[in-house]
C-alpha cells in the first residue's frame, strides 16, 4: 500500500522538475540578469539603457495599443462566431473545422500571408485599383506609414488568433445548461435579453480565461510584426530580440522581457479583479 500512496507523486515528479527548471528558474535568472551590471553588482543600468533607447517609447506604445485594439476585436468577433454557430441549422461541424484552421498557423506564417496582401504589388492594392481608387501601387508597409503597418498587424492577428478565443468560448457555452435559457424564454425574455442576462454572465469564467490568455499572447507579439514591418513598428518582444541578437546585450534584453512580464501580470490582476465572481456565484 505504501507504493500506492507515493505513485502519483512519482508520476508527476518528472514534469514538475522539468517545469521548475524551465519556468521558475529562468524567471529568476531573467530578473537577476536585468538587475546585474557588468561587474556583478546590483544596478538599474539595464533599465536605464532600455528607457533611454530610441525605440523604447514606441515599442511600449505600439505593444500596448496592439493589445488594446486586437484583444477586444477578437473577443467580440469570437463571441459572435460562437453564438452564430449555435444558430446554424446545418453544417455545424464543417464550419467549426474551417473556422478553427488558423489555430495551427504560426505567427510568422500569418505575417507572411498578410504581407502578400499588403505588399506594394499585393492583393489590397490590386483590389483598390480594380475599384478605381488608386492607379499606381501604393507603398503601405514603410517606415513613413507606421499606422498602416499597425493596421496590417491587427488584420493578421485578428485573422490568426481569433480562433483560440472562439474555441474557449464554444467550450464554455457547452458547459451552460440549456435549462437556464429555456426558463428565461418561458418568462418571455427576447433572444437579445437572454444573451445579455443569461448567457453572457454564465460565460464569464470562459471569457476571463480567453481575455487573460489572449492579452498575454498579444503582449508578446513578435513574428507577425517582423514579417510585416521589420523594425519600422517596434514592439517590446522584438526589441528584446534585437538587443539579444544584434547588440549582444542579454542584460537589456532581459530588462525588456521583465517589462513584458510586468505588464502581463498587471493585466492578469486587473482582469481577475474586474471579473471577480459575485459572492453567491462563488459559494
Amino acid at each position: 500500500m505504501r507504493t500506492e500512496r507515493y505513485l502519483p507523486y512519482a508520476l508527476i515528479a518528472p514534469s514538475v522538475l522539468f517545469l521548475l527548471f524551465f519556468f521558475a528558474w529562468p524567471l529568476l535568472e531573467a530578473l537577476l540578469l536585468s538587475v546585474r551590471g557588468g561587474g556583478g553588482g546590483w544596478t538599474l543600468e539595464n533599465f536605464q539603457r532600455m528607457a533611454a533607447d530610441l525605440y523604447f517609447k514606441d515599442a511600449l506604445k505600439y505593444t500596448l495599443l496592439l493589445a488594446l485594439v486586437v484583444v477586444p476585436l477578437q473577443v467580440v468577433l469570437a463571441l459572435g462566431m460562437a453564438m452564430l454557430l449555435g444558430g446554424l441549422s446545418r453544417g455545424r461541424d464543417l464550419f467549426l473545422y474551417v473556422w478553427t484552421i488558423p489555430l495551427g498557423i504560426s505567427d510568422l506564417a500569418a505575417g507572411i500571408v498578410w504581407l502578400a496582401i499588403f505588399t506594394e504589388r499585393g492583393y489590397l492594392n490590386s483590389l483598390l485599383q480594380a475599384l478605381g481608387l488608386i492607379e499606381q501601387p501604393q507603398l503601405w508597409l514603410s517606415y513613413e506609414t507606421p499606422w498602416m503597418i499597425f493596421l496590417a498587424v491587427v488584420a493578421a492577428e485578428v485573422w490568426r488568433a481569433t480562433a483560440i478565443v472562439f474555441v474557449i468560448l464554444v467550450a464554455g457555452l457547452q458547459l451552460i445548461p440549456k435549462e437556464y435559457s429555456e426558463a428565461a424564454e418561458v418568462f418571455g425574455a427576447t433572444p437579445w435579453q437572454r444573451f445579455w442576462r443569461v448567457t453572457l454572465p454564465l460565460l464569464k469564467p470562459s471569457l476571463q480565461v480567453a481575455l487573460i490568455l489572449r492579452t498575454i499572447l498579444a503582449l508578446e507579439v513578435f513574428a507577425v510584426v517582423v514579417a510585416l514591418g521589420g523594425r519600422n513598428l517596434p514592439v517590446l518582444a522584438g526589441e528584446a530580440y534585437y538587443w539579444y541578437n544584434a547588440y549582444q546585450n542579454p542584460g537589456v534584453a532581459a530588462a525588456y522581457a521583465v517589462v513584458v512580464l510586468g505588464i502581463s501580470v498587471l493585466a492578469t490582476l486587473v482582469y481577475l479583479r474586474l471579473m471577480r465572481p459575485r459572492q453567491e456565484e462563488a459559494a
Binding site: Y97, S106, I112, I117, L219, A253, V258
Partner: protein, 266 residues
C-alpha cells in the same frame, strides 16, 4: 426563415475570411516569378508553376532548416508525451494532496512571456554547451508543449472508465500490465492527438528557436532571420510551407480541439 439564411450567409463569409488568405498565399507559392510580381493581380492564379516553390527549396540552408525543424519537433513530441502522460494519468486516477497546486503550476506556465524564458536560457545554454543545438531548442519547446500534454492526457484518462482497469486487476494483471493492455490501447488516439499538438507547437515556434540557434536554425528561425534580405517569392513559398502542417493538424485532431483549449475554462 430569413434569420436562418442570414446566419448561413454570415457563416459562409467567415469561411471566406479564413480561407481566402490561405488560398492567395498558395496561389503565389505555386506560380512563376512574373506572376508573383504581377500588377495588378487577379484573384485567380494566372499560371500554375513550380518555379517559386522550387526556388525556395533550392535556397541554401532550407533543406537543413526543414530537417532541423522536423528533428526538434519530433524530440518535443517524445519528451512532452513521456513527461506529460504520466502526470495526466496521476491527475485522472488519484486524489492526492498537492494535485490542485500542481494544476495551478501547469496553468501558470501559460502566463509566462516566452522572452522571459528564452533569454536567460540562451545565456545558460551557452555555459552548458547546448546553445545552438537541436536538443536545446527541443527542451524549450517541450516546456511550452508540456502543460498542454498534461491537461489533455488527464482528461483523456478520465474518459476511460476506471472499472475497465479494475476488472483487469481482478483478472490477474498487475498495474503496469493493466495499463499497457487495457488503458493504453483505448488512449492511443488521444495520445496521438497530444503528440501531433506538441509537434505543431514546436514546428510553429519562432522566438526561442531564433534566440537559441546560430547555425542550426529551424525553418521558422531560418525564415525570420532571412526575411529582410530575401525576395518575396522566397518568403511566400516559405510562409505557405509553414502552413501546410497546420491544415493537416487541425483536420486530424478536430475531435480533440475542445479538450486542448476548452479545458482551461474549468
Amino acid at each position: 426563415m430569413n434569420l436562418r439564411r442570414l446566419y448561413m450567409v454570415l457563416a459562409v463569409l467567415l469561411v471566406v475570411w479564413v480561407l481566402l488568405p490561405i488560398f492567395l498565399i498558395a496561389t503565389l507559392a505555386f506560380s512563376d516569378r512574373p506572376s508573383v510580381f504581377a500588377w495588378p493581380k487577379g484573384l485567380l492564379p494566372q499560371q500554375f508553376s513550380l518555379e517559386t516553390i522550387s526556388f525556395f527549396f533550392g535556397v541554401e540552408g532550407v533543406w537543413r532548416a526543414i530537417r532541423n525543424s522536423l528533428a526538434v519537433a519530433a524530440m518535443t513530441l517524445v519528451f512532452s508525451v513521456l513527461l506529460g502522460a504520466p502526470a495526466g494519468y496521476a491527475l485522472a486516477r488519484y486524489r492526492f494532496a498537492g494535485a490542485d497546486a500542481y494544476r495551478l503550476l501547469i496553468l501558470m506556465t501559460r502566463a509566462f512571456p516566452l522572452a522571459i524564458l528564452a533569454i536567460p536560457l540562451a545565456v545558460r545554454f551557452i555555459q552548458l554547451g547546448i546553445y545552438d543545438t537541436l536538443l536545446g531548442v527541443a527542451l524549450v519547446h517541450t516546456a511550452l508543449a508540456l502543460p498542454f500534454a498534461v491537461l489533455v492526457t488527464s482528461s483523456l484518462f478520465l474518459s476511460i472508465p476506471k472499472e475497465l482497469e479494475e476488472a483487469a486487476w481482478t483478472l490477474g494483471c498487475n498495474r503496469l500490465q493493466a495499463f499497457l493492455r487495457v488503458v493504453l490501447p483505448l488512449a492511443l488516439p488521444g495520445l496521438a492527438a497530444t503528440a501531433i499538438f506538441a509537434f505543431v507547437i514546436s514546428w510553429n515556434e519562432v522566438f526561442a528557436a531564433t534566440l537559441l540557434t546560430l547555425r542550426e536554425r529551424t525553418l521558422p528561425a531560418f525564415l525570420l532571420t532571412s526575411l529582410n534580405d530575401s525576395p518575396l517569392p522566397f518568403r511566400f513559398a516559405g510562409g505557405f510551407f509553414l502552413i501546410v502542417p497546420a491544415l493537416v493538424f487541425i483536420f486530424v485532431i478536430r475531435r480533440y480541439l475542445f479538450t486542448l483549449w476548452g479545458i482551461a475554462s474549468r
